[in-house]
């Protein structure tokens, strides 16, 4: 219990911070719709929501995450969605703090070491299966470190965890790869446990294939890694000019300083830290992974620095103090539940246009409104939405051509059979269509709905 007080408190604080955020993610809508369809008709294997790629195969790698998300909605409405986020964020940070407290006793060191993860995961505290992927990543690292330290049960739990993860989110691939690396390193180093490591590595690889998609489960993470969609902000590279970039750069600098200076780090940590650092540099949405992975290393360094500063004075937490912290955590968690939003924030969506948009095929709407339309206007299939990969190629090219009114955009409108445009008034296509005298069906400061001739 003495170890749990600080992680619980930090986790509860993180959950409370997550509760303050509105529900406004552009992808939550199509995740919910897919989860609903999965519960009603079984796993969604082909596109149901668009008119441009209807019937085309879709990725099933997040089916379990989508079902859980929809169940939370079905049970408690939007409040349920918000509570799921609060629980996931709280759990994530609590696990990071627990992992950080593995080799240090100083509560301040644990709290400070968890701060980078707390800051960087703010950007991914969204209502998507992706968030569950981060929780599972943190849990896997905790188990791998325990397994490496001698716990066979922890290693077996890694396999089970990756098995679940492969059905929740495409980030499972990182878990499988890390498990493989740790097992290879363990098998080379510890001859007595070689069979255990090999068995866990092979079993982990096998469970990633025991999903509805089979070997195709690896398609989504593979294509995201090798060909990240840079047009989408979160898939762009980390920019140190942004607040997230500053936090990330500070984390990376601390990591480099930590491995360069001070006491030697456990060389086995390199097997985890190097691949995660590499991956975290590939896209902004991967940046939090680094802060999660290096928390134990930071905790050791901070504890070392504190011991140096206080000339070796110990600062362990007592059992009553830990119990008090746990009670405070419960109180904060209750507050988070109370303040969690009960309705989505739809200010960024064209709700006033809903009554005017035509039913059936032919609506061309902005990319970031696609998911919202799937949920709110089920009788009007979308041209494109946040599921992105199924649209890559011809559909996405035509979307870009039309929305930016590039050369050939009118041909694309005719060829695709677009009947109406639902876009932002400042979009080049909105300006061009008005210049050409196309009829405006409805408009506001946020949107304009234009009939194509």
């Amino acid at each position: 219990m003495t170890r749990l007080g600080v992680p619980l408190l930090v986790g509860a604080l993180a959950g409370a911070l997550a509760a303050v955020q509105p529900i406004n993610d552009t992808d939550v809508w199509w995740h919910l719709a897919t989860g609903r369809e999965t519960l009603a008709q079984g796993i969604v294997r082909s596109d149901l929501f668009s008119w441009t790629v209807r019937g085309a195969p879709v990725s099933t790698d997040q089916w379990l995450g989508q079902v859980v998300l929809y169940l939370s909605y079905a049970v408690a409405g939007w409040w349920g969605v918000a509570l799921l986020r609060v629980v996931l964020v709280g759990t994530l940070i609590a696990i990071v703090a627990l992992d950080a407290s593995g080799r240090v006793q100083r509560p301040l060191a644990v709290v400070l070491a968890t701060m980078p993860a707390l800051l960087l995961t703010r950007a991914v505290a969204v209502d998507r299966p992706e968030l569950a992927g981060f929780v599972l990543f943190a849990a896997l690292l905790y188990l791998l470190r325990r397994g490496r330290a001698g716990s066979w049960r922890a290693l077996v739990a890694c396999t089970a965890l990756v098995g679940v993860w492969a059905n929740v989110h495409g980030s499972f691939a990182l878990g499988a790869v890390l498990t493989g690396f740790v097992c290879i390193e363990g098998a080379l180093r510890d001859v007595a446990r070689r069979r255990e490591y090999i068995a866990v590595a092979l079993a982990t690889l096998a469970v990633t294939l025991a999903t509805p998609a089979g070997i195709a489960t690896w398609t989504a993470p593979g294509s995201h890694f090798l060909s990240p969609p840079r047009d989408i902000q979160e898939w762009n590279v980390v920019d140190v000019r942004t607040p997230l970039g500053v936090a990330y750069a500070a984390t990376l600098a601390l990591l480099i300083a930590s491995v360069l200076a001070g006491p030697r780090i456990d060389p086995r940590e390199a097997v985890i830290v190097i691949p995660v650092a590499f991956l975290s540099l590939t896209a902004a949405r991967q940046a939090p992974l680094l802060a999660i992975a290096v928390a134990p290393l930071f905790a050791e360094r901070v504890a070392w620095a504190l011991a140096f500063a206080t000339r070796g004075a110990t600062a362990q937490i007592s059992r009553p103090a830990s119990t008090f912290l746990a009670a405070a955590a419960v109180a904060i968690a209750a507050m988070a539940v109370a303040i969690a939003p009960r309705a989505p924030d739809e200010r960024a969506y064209p709700r006033a246009a809903l009554d005017s948009i035509p039913h059936g095929d032919g609506l061309f709407a902005r990319y970031e409104w696609g998911g919202w339309l799937i949920w709110n206007a089920p009788a009007t299939p979308v041209f494109v939405d946040g599921r992105l990969f199924q649209y890559r190629g011809a559909v996405l090219d035509d979307y870009q051509r039309i929305v930016t009114a590039k050369q050939g955009w009118r041909d694309a409108v005719t060829r695709r059979g677009v009947r109406a445009l639902l876009v932002v008034p400042s979009d080049p296509v909105a300006v061009r269509a008005r210049e050409l005298g196309w009829r405006v069906i409805a408009s506001s400061e946020m949107f304009v709905l234009i009939a194509a001739p």
Partner: protein, 449 residues
């Protein structure tokens, strides 16, 4: 400072290889033109090449770099520019490899491997700009800062020269200050001797024509890099330089985790350089260059066993190596002799249709070339960028992208002609809006209002 023959040899090899690269950098032309004015005794302190920012103050932080380029061009034409590039690459590679060799004497394989990331990453900066000279200064600075007091003192005049060549000198100052701090911590007796050294280093950066303003360019690039320019974008693992950078960073972490502990001086160099390298693709070679001695001193030597059994390296061979190097260098003029500008990406054929005088809107990438190729036509914008930030640049983007309201921007500036790419949205829109096509080919279109 004695330089290893192996480093010189690799320097010469890469100097030859870099002569195969064409002269086509879009910024070279405005550097040369600026240098030409400076050479004539008229250091441009205000904008003279454009009609949109004429009279606005401009940076003078690269005046010496521009001057060196202009002198090379005046002395030997385009072969002079190519020779300067070859010389700079020779110096850079030789310095980098020599830093590795001095960290790991008698281990050329380790030295070459340690230098490889720096050579691969800096290769993207082997262009005809003062930036390349800045990289040479950086490599030399890294070499000096690993030495003792004498080398630290030499670092100050180097910083002074660097501050006249290129804005990257700011990193050099940061490294001198970091080294002084590290040595003050490590060498407790007489630690105060580093205070005047650090002070002189700061002073050295202020002795240029810009004075305190010399920091504006460096600060602007660091705090607000123009991300829409590819080389100013954050390192992207999908690109070749981005992938090399990530591998270099991973190697730093791996070497630090598994190898001998880093010294305080190494830590205080590598951490800030890694941070700067993260800010933009053009800064990524810095980490690889700074990490060379760190790698070289820690990586295992695959042929250590063989070498230990072989007799010591014969010093007499050095004479033959030097003779070989001199022979190689003698051939360098032949390699650069037929140098000329590769204008295959520039609108040379369109120039006749471009009107003279103010009022021509041009593609950003062609601005520098235009002020060299048609000096009678001032540019709307060019690669110097900062004189145009933020208003002219915003207007440029509005026009070239045919954003809503582009016509009012055109009217406000009084644009009378456009020199753009056929694929630019404005090329399509302006034609639709009645602009006359005065010239058109696969590269450019000239539109007259």
């Amino acid at each position: 400072m004695r330089v290893s023959p192996f480093a010189l040899f690799l320097g010469v090899v890469f100097a030859y290889l870099v002569t195969l690269q064409p002269i086509n950098d879009s910024d070279l032309f405005w550097h040369v033109e600026t240098g030409r004015l400076t050479l004539a005794g008229d250091l441009p302190r205000v904008e003279v090449f454009s009609w949109t920012a004429r009279g606005e103050p401009v940076f003078t932080d690269q005046w010496l770099g521009d001057l060196v380029l202009a002198v090379a061009r005046a002395a030997a034409g385009w072969p002079g520019i190519l020779a300067l590039r070859a010389l700079a690459v020779f110096a850079l590679v030789a310095l980098v490899v020599d830093a590795a060799m001095s960290a790991r004497p008698r281990a050329p394989i380790v030295a070459a491997a340690a230098a490889l990331p720096a050579i691969l990453l800096s290769r993207f900066a082997w262009t005809d700009r003062p930036e390349l000279l800045g990289l040479v200064c950086f490599a030399l600075m890294i070499r000096l800062l690993r030495g003792g007091d004498r080398e630290l003192l030499f670092a100050i005049p180097l910083l002074f020269v660097w501050a006249q060549l290129h804005g990257s000198y700011a990193l050099g100052l940061g490294l001198i200050l970091a080294s002084c701090a590290a040595r003050a911590i490590e060498e407790k007796p007489e630690r105060w001797r580093f205070v005047p050294i650090a002070s002189f280093a700061v002073l050295a950066t202020l002795l240029g024509p810009s004075g305190l303003d010399a920091w504006t360019s460096s600060g602007g690039h660091f705090l607000a890099p123009p991300r829409f320019i590819a080389e100013e974008g954050a390192p992207d693992a999908r690109t070749l330089p981005g992938a090399f950078f990530l591998i270099t960073l991973a190697l730093v972490i791996a070497t630090a985790s598994l190898g001998r502990r880093a010294t305080l001086r190494e830590t205080l160099v590598l951490v800030p350089v890694a941070l700067v390298a993260l800010t933009a693709t053009r800064h990524t070679p810095l980490l690889a260059i700074a990490a060379v001695p760190f790698f070289a001193s820690r990586w295992p030597d695959p042929i250590a066993g063989l070498r230990d059994r072989s007799p010591a390296a014969p010093e007499a061979n050095l004479g033959r190596t030097r003779a070989f190097l001199i022979a190689l260098l003698a051939f360098l003029p032949i390699a650069v002799l037929d140098a000329h500008v590769d204008e295959s990406t520039y609108p040379r054929a369109a120039l006749a249709a471009v009107p003279e005088g103010a009022g021509v809107f041009n593609q950003y990438d062609w601005g520098g070339w235009l002020l060299y190729a048609k000096p009678s036509t001032p540019v709307f914008i060019d690669g110097r960028l900062f004189p145009y930030v933020p208003d002219v640049l915003a207007d440029y983007r509005a026009i070239v992208g045919a954003h809503p309201g582009w016509e009012s921007v055109v009217a406000r500036h009084g644009v009378k002609a456009m020199l753009v790419r056929p694929s630019d949205p404005i090329a399509v829109r302006a034609t639709e809006r009645g602009w006359r096509v005065a010239f058109r080919d696969a590269i450019a279109v000239v539109l007259i209002r």
